[in-house]
């Protein structure tokens, strides 16, 4: 029974163990499951072991028992749907400019790719604020995005009658926030960052090593000999460089804030600096980037064992990166192009990563992302990406 269901779950990426499946049958045999809604609950609690997969489970369930369209879980459908929607809209530019909250002139100046990216960013915001409902798509009633019946995330629910409660529950997709693709929460970040810790013995020898004491004592024919160790402390140095300027980073402020709140509480020795778009002669200790400049050249003389983490969308006009006077701030045109500075940092700190809050599938749309990712190993600022970034930072030990 339900073998197909089991396999579709597995194919969709939910790690379901066969023993769990047998256990579900035991529950069925015991008569514990009466009706579809019981089955929904029972199967989830027995088969699915993490809330991160609840969302996929909901979608598979709705597909299996209701024939709802099973979306491609790589998220491609969102882009296709968005493209279709955009094409429809482009016939009515005014309406669209209104909906996106930008002027018609500005919109016409954007390339289709930029427009698509902007739109997807807005959609992402919508997903993040799904429960709070404080963002502008879907609230306030001004935006056609919320009214067109389009459901961000790709489940097309229109026109189906939802008469069975379990299906309805599954269709609600209450667990979307917990799925793997969902934005990071602080706790998840902690999980990933904790692996960065490197404990080394420092300080006075003030901890008794019981195993060694026993060994030494027996070797001493029972005369007690106590062996002391130094205590373990985290000595890892972390330098965090954050892009906090420009409207292109605006959608990610919450995300980045969470990241470094967590970093600060996690590591003893963490230095945080700010920059705008890319790095020239200076980075700043204060977020407004005005009072406490730090020469990048001096930064490069620091402990080479430090882990360097750069957070930024790496999206800018190519000349900002390549030209000798590329900075949009006139006072820091020193003659060295930013790309040289980045190279210097990447060569100094061999364990460095660039975390990019932009979705990976959009990277190819921006040229500078390609350039910078050839200098720094670049990872997406998601749970998966952070995990891989941490692995990378620790790998050369």
């Amino acid at each position: 029974m339900f073998v197909d269901f089991f396999y579709i779950l597995r194919e969709s990426g939910v790690p379901v163990a066969p023993t769990s499946f047998l256990r579900l049958h035991k529950a069925l045999a015991l008569g514990l499951v009466n009706g579809l809604s019981d089955f929904y609950t029972a199967a989830r609690t027995i088969l699915v072991k993490s809330e991160r997969y609840f969302d996929i489970y909901d979608r598979v369930f709705a597909h299996f028992f209701q024939g709802a369209e099973l979306p491609d879980f790589k998220g491609v459908d969102l882009e296709i749907a968005a493209k279709e929607l955009l094409e429809e809209w482009l016939k009515h530019p005014e309406e669209m400019a209104n909906a996106l909250g930008i002027s018609k002139e500005k919109m016409q100046a954007m390339t289709p790719e930029e427009l698509l990216k902007y739109f997807l960013d807005r959609l992402k915001e919508q997903t993040e604020a799904h429960h709070g409902g404080s963002r502008w798509i879907g609230t306030g009633g001004t935006s056609p995005v919320g009214h067109s019946g389009y459901h961000p995330g790709g489940m097309r629910v229109g026109g189906q009658s939802l008469h069975k409660s379990a299906i309805k529950v599954a269709m609600d997709r209450r667990y979307r926030d917990y799925s793997l693709e969902a934005p990071l929460t602080q706790a998840q970040m902690g999980e990933a960052l904790k692996r960065l810790r490197r404990m080394v013995p420092v300080g006075p020898k003030d901890q008794i090593n019981i195993d060694d004491t026993i060994r030494a004592t027996t070797r001493n024919a029972g005369e007690i000999e106590i062996v002391f160790d130094r205590s373990l402390r985290d000595r890892l140095k972390v330098i965090l460089l954050v892009d906090n300027g420009g409207w292109s980073m605006d959608p990610y402020i919450d995300l980045v804030q969470t990241l470094f709140n967590y970093t600060r509480s996690q590591f003893k020795d963490v230095k945080i600096f700010y920059f705008h778009n890319t790095i020239y002669d200076f980075v700043w200790e204060d977020p407004p980037r005005r009072y406490k400049p730090q020469r990048v050249q001096d930064l490069a003389t620091w402990d080479r064992q430090s882990r360097l983490v750069v957070v930024g969308d790496a999206s800018m006009a190519p000349y900002e990166l390549m030209a000798t006077d590329g900075s949009i701030h006139i006072e820091e045109r020193s003659g060295l192009p930013s790309i040289d500075r980045l190279n210097l940092l990447a060569q100094t700190f061999q364990r460095c990563v660039w975390l990019n809050p932009t979705a990976y599938r959009l990277w190819s749309l921006t040229r500078t992302i390609g350039v910078i990712s050839s200098i720094f190993p670049m990872f997406e600022l998601t749970l998966d990406g952070l995990d891989r970034a941490v692995t990378h930072l620790m790998s050369k030990n």
Partner: protein, 283 residues
């Protein structure tokens, strides 16, 4: 209310508001004799659930609070060598020094196994322990027996306890561990559910205050940059404080005058942020 018939059916306790889905999950886990692993953010009532099951089923509750330093054997039993040494030197106790068994004390899991009636065993915050502890413990709970090495004796569970395990998901649990549990994630209650929860705790609370307090509470949870969001426990304490204050008028909350923010926000940075942002509500 106690249920004599088997299998027991869990329907919630007087101070615990149970949603239907969770009730089903608890019942399935009891029937399948599987430990139930509960995850969810703090304040969603993970621990309270075990208390509620124990009360409603008239079972004794045994709580094992997991700490990072906890060794599995400590949770099973302890061999009190110090007392034995003392007894052998001074010999002023009634215990038989040559009988080691008299110096074995049961730990929390051991006690749940030797109890005469079925108990609820709550293993709280399992994520604090290391992976070895978790896997070894699940072995014991799977087999429902463990050995006391010192006296070469196997302790078998007289009654299979109802096992509830909670995790704040700071660490991912291992696959073998997850494979042996049923799993549920308790989402933070929505405003309607929260109203019911508050109603259960304060039956005489008038609806106006209830509505405004809950509404304000969810607004406060939405504040930017808060590290530790207030949870159910904080809300209950806050409502208690509001009730006690003779000068408090529910209207104040609508106007954005929110008293006792310190009950809700317990980190100083959170508190300051909340004070700043609540001023904005006032306009």
């Amino acid at each position: 209310m106690p249920h004599e018939s088997s299998p027991p059916v869990f329907e919630g306790a007087s101070k615990y508001v149970l949603d239907e889905e969770l009730a089903k999950i608890v019942n399935i886990s009891i029937a399948l004799e599987m430990p139930l692993l509960l995850k969810g953010e703090p304040g969603t009532g993970k621990t309270m659930l075990a208390h509620a099951i124990a009360t409603s089923q008239n079972m004794r509750l045994i709580v094992l609070n997991v700490k990072s330093s906890l060794k599995l054997v400590d949770a099973l039993y302890q061999y009190d060598t110090l007392t034995r040494l003392n007894d052998s030197r001074f010999g002023d106790s009634k215990r038989d020094v040559s009988n080691i068994e008299e110096y074995i004390q049961m730990g929390k899991i051991g006690r749940a196994f030797v109890a005469d009636s079925r108990v609820v065993l709550l293993i709280d915050e399992i994520d604090k322990a290391d992976t070895d502890f978790q896997d070894d413990m699940l072995d014991v709970l799977d087999q429902m027996e463990f050995d006391i090495i010192e006296i070469d004796k196997t302790i078998k569970a007289k009654n299979r306890p109802v096992i509830i395990i909670t995790s704040n998901s700071k660490k991912d649990l291992s696959d073998p561990f997850l494979g042996r549990c049923n799993f549920h994630h308790i989402a933070f209650p929505d405003p309607d559910m929260m109203r019911m929860i508050i109603k259960v705790h304060f039956p005489e609370l008038d609806n106006e205050l209830l509505d405004i307090a809950v509404k304000t509470f969810y607004k406060l949870r939405d504040f930017q940059g808060i590290e530790k969001k207030p949870a159910t426990r904080e809300l209950i304490n806050w409502v208690r404080a509001l009730k006690k204050d003779p000068d408090f008028r529910p209207k104040d909350l609508i106007q954005g005058k929110i008293p006792y923010l310190g009950i809700l926000f317990k980190k100083s940075s959170d508190y300051q942020l909340s004070v700043q942002q609540s001023r904005r509500l006032r306009s």
